[in-house]
Symmetry: C2
Subunit: 263 residues, 2 copies
Amino acid sequence: MNQIVKRDQLIKEWIYVAADISRTSFEQTINIEEKTNRTDLVTSIDKEIEQYFIEKIATHFPNERVLGEEGSGHQITDLKGVVWIIDPIDGTLNFVKQKNDFAIMISVYENGIGYLGYIYDVMKDELYSAVKNQGACLNEIPLKKVKDIPLREGLVAVSHRLMSSEKNDEARKIGRASSGVRMVGSAGLETARVATGRLVAYIGASLAPWDIGAGKVISEELGLIYTQLNGEKIDMLHYNKTIVATPSAHKEIIEKFKLDKEG
Amino acid sequence: MNQIVKRDQLIKEWIYVAADISRTSFEQTINIEEKTNRTDLVTSIDKEIEQYFIEKIATHFPNERVLGEEGSGHQITDLKGVVWIIDPIDGTLNFVKQKNDFAIMISVYENGIGYLGYIYDVMKDELYSAVKNQGACLNEIPLKKVKDIPLREGLVAVSHRLMSSEKNDEARKIGRASSGVRMVGSAGLETARVATGRLVAYIGASLAPWDIGAGKVISEELGLIYTQLNGEKIDMLHYNKTIVATPSAHKEIIEKFKLDKEG
């Protein structure tokens, strides 16, 4: 990928501007719509931030395509060339209900390979960033490679849908095999907690490319394994059942539990 | 209760000293022991902070008794007179595994009535405090009474034990009836999130007086209802199945679900 340093600087600038938009919105009345159901929301702020990013990318990198959660980017059916992956607000339900625990995420892929990843925890002012083969940082301070802690010794995050499943007890078995379950409600922030060693695994029920893109770049730089729940590699064009974990916890969860069968 | 202002000032001073002890420990090797099982931990830091509080209370209020999680206080079998209730580190598992999301809690009861309550989120530097009949504050800024949001419209926190129960699906039914489940792993911080309107309810599987004391004073000052899961009032001498919630969510959860039967 060309212009890595320039891209890195621009992305950080844009993220801080977007964060101001999100925080300022708490003093305003914002428009909230349901997407697929009452817990799948989109607000006027998600759309405004996505539009902001798309305009910035179009200005600086006019020949590159954008895959955005709110659909105002390009129609993406392949990963050829450079593709920007945007989640203007990850954890929109938290953004609306808690005014906290949401993230702004950007990643840049080229021919399907992630080169740059950014997760910004707006309310904590914590920017996780990574450049392929150059490690990952939290607020510009390099993060250490994670320790390879096994499932039994660590906390795990599991999506509400899997934890509450009526059909399948497997997610709860993982919880009982671990030290405990924590649930944040933002794929980005849960991945960031695995990246900083606070959790040994995060399991997502149905993550889109914009939920995955940034976290995958960051976590892989730190020695974590990010795959589908059946162990296959992530499909960056579709929804995935996902796991990001320490090598030990990843192996144990994939081998011992049958979560990939869960509907 | 006498000397409310003096007590309030002293408690805040002590909490900030205790927080320094907890943060400083991250650079040291600390001693960790299992209590009842591998997820019920106590560290040398829990004990050191409890001892610090007990000494301070003995110096300033020599005739008053202390009920502390780590057992270095008095043997308490009644609530006559003034009783200090201490949780040196609430969320010890988070303290050990995450170095984050733990709280220091103090409350002061007289003849069974809570007069002062404090929950300090050490890593966020957020001190929740309340004085009976004078409202509650976050870092000295008064908190507003919570809005009476119904279960369906809000997020809930549920203890891991109830969410993972093999015997009883009721906790998960509550989760599905809400907007979503979040799990922090600290009774104090989960109660603080109800107190600030981020959650509409927090359900605890088995809370001791030191898990409850401070949060009950704070949440009741803000219009929340804090009871056992069967609707009866909290027993401050024993373990309780608990719920703290908005009036609407409290009524719905107690009437519609049978969580108090869960083993």
